[in-house]
């Protein structure tokens, strides 16, 4: 995937942070190692970053760094699921997902009252897609089932949730890492969600309490 890159120097000028801060955040794993892309230029080797991702991340760190410690932020940005178990009541009370989704998937959830993080993430994803009108209720159920059975296999690796639709029939799958998609003409890419980004949002939501 050819993504737009930003040089380290430009990044520091744009965001107004210093070299020290950048290295400190790297040390604390707030910025993932794979975003540091080394390329040869006329001044020797230079470091580049994926432009949109790094700008969004730094904005977020700057916004939150006064309220939270760097370790807390690192835990939030880490792609592995948080160790959170919530009850159904809590989810409703704290408006993490809408009631509609919870009712829709109530049958699918086990009789047990507590919801694991993976389940919560699946709920959150389905909720988000339903609210934005990208999928139907039925498709939501399919996504939920697929996500719950396959996501644990990824073990916290970065992945994308993709929904394709052709002649009104939808199919969904998870793709590990960043992949290029080449889709036939009649089909439509209905949804493409970067799961780690959603995890971040969800963790932020959870920690806001």
């Amino acid at each position: 995937m050819e993504q737009e890159l930003i040089s380290k120097k430009e990044l520091l000028e744009l965001t107004g942070i210093s070299y020290g801060q950048l290295y400190r955040w790297k040390r604390k794993k707030l910025i993932p190692e794979e975003w540091f892309i080394r390329k040869s230029t006329f001044t020797g080797q230079e470091t580049f970053f994926p432009r949109e991702k790094i700008l969004a991340r730094i904005e977020k760190i700057k916004e939150l760094k006064d309220e939270r410690s760097l370790d807390e932020l690192a835990a939030m940005f880490a792609p592995d699921p948080a160790t959170v178990v919530m009850t159904k009541e809590e989810i409703v009370k704290r408006h993490i997902v809408s009631d509609v989704v919870l009712q829709l998937l109530n049958d699918e959830l086990s009789d047990r009252n507590d919801v694991s993080f993976v389940q919560l993430l699946a709920l959150y994803l389905v909720d988000r897609l339903l609210l934005s009108g990208e999928i139907s209720m039925e498709e939501g159920k399919t996504i939920w089932k697929m996500f719950e059975s396959h996501y644990p296999k990824l073990q916290g690796k970065s992945c994308e949730l993709i929904v394709l639709r052709k002649m009104g029939v939808a199919t969904c799958f998870l793709a590990e890492g960043a992949v290029n998609l080449y889709i036939e003409e009649g089909a439509k890419l209905a949804v493409r969600l970067h799961v780690p980004a959603c995890i971040e949002e969800l963790k932020l939501k959870l920690s806001e309490g």
């Binding site: 000028e13 210093s18 070299y19 020290g20 950048l22 290295y23 400190r24 040390r27």
Partner: protein, 234 residues
């Protein structure tokens, strides 16, 4: 499981496993991964596997083929670790070799440290010489150069490199110089350093430096004896 002590005095070998205190005096060899609370070595020790411990104290010679994870580590003598090191506080008096990467809160070196991969710490103090194969990333880096040192990249908040006096013989054959491709930080003070690029807010280039390119934001001070290619204020 219950943790028991393992003591080898003289020559002996044992298997790895779960222990409380592991004390090797003389010549000891352990086969397999070791998980203990405290490891004490006086003499020669070799571990065929990894080490996980709270405290590690090596006086003499230590060799670990796997990685090392501990809270506190003190080496007087030499130590060689085959994979990564993760540690809170590491003090090396003598010679330390890490084939993988090294992550710690504080690293203190009196003597020599060689890290094959990246090295990151909040605070790193070196009196002697070091080499880092990848990036040396630390909040505060203080180097008192005694011998030739090398790193591909150095980044951090404060980077201080100064030369310590040595014997005439050493000065001739092992010049106390630091070589790096890129050095980036907020406050940088360099002496006897050869680098392609130095970037920082407040940069001081002292005597004996050869820098191809310096980029600074706030202030730049150059010694008369420093050789600098291009200077750019960004």
């Amino acid at each position: 499981m219950e943790r028991r002590d393992l003591v080898i005095a003289g020559t002996g070998h044992a298997s790895g496993g779960l222990y409380s205190l592991v004390k090797l005096s003389g010549n000891g060899k352990l086969y397999g991964d070791l998980d203990c609370l405290e490891m004490q070595v006086q003499g020669n020790a070799a571990v065929e596997g990894s080490v996980k411990a709270n405290n590690v104290h090596i006086a003499g010679n230590g060799r670990v083929t796997g990685g090392m994870a501990c809270e506190w580590m003190k080496v007087s003598g030499s130590v060689k670790i085959g994979e990564h090191v993760q540690c809170q506080e590491a003090t090396v008096r003598g010679h330390g070799v890490v084939k993988g990467s090294c992550t710690a809160e504080t690293i203190r070196v009196h003597g020599e440290l060689d890290v094959g991969g990246d090295c990151s710490a909040e605070r790193m103090e070196v009196e002697g010489h070091f080499s880092v194969g990848g990036l040396l990333n630390a909040g505060y880096i203080e180097v008192k150069l005694v011998g030739p040192s090398r790193a591909t990249e150095i980044g951090g908040e404060t980077i201080m490199v100064k030369r310590q006096g040595g014997s005439l013989f050493k000065k001739w054959f092992f010049p106390a110089e630091l070589t790096a491709d890129v050095i980036e930080g907020d406050v940088i003070h360099l002496e006897h350093t050869t680098a392609k690029t130095v970037r920082g807010n407040r940069v001081t280039i002292g005597p004996g430096c050869h820098i191809e390119r310096v980029e600074y934001r706030e202030a730049l001070e150059c010694d008369e004896e420093a050789k600098i290619g291009t200077i750019e204020k960004g």
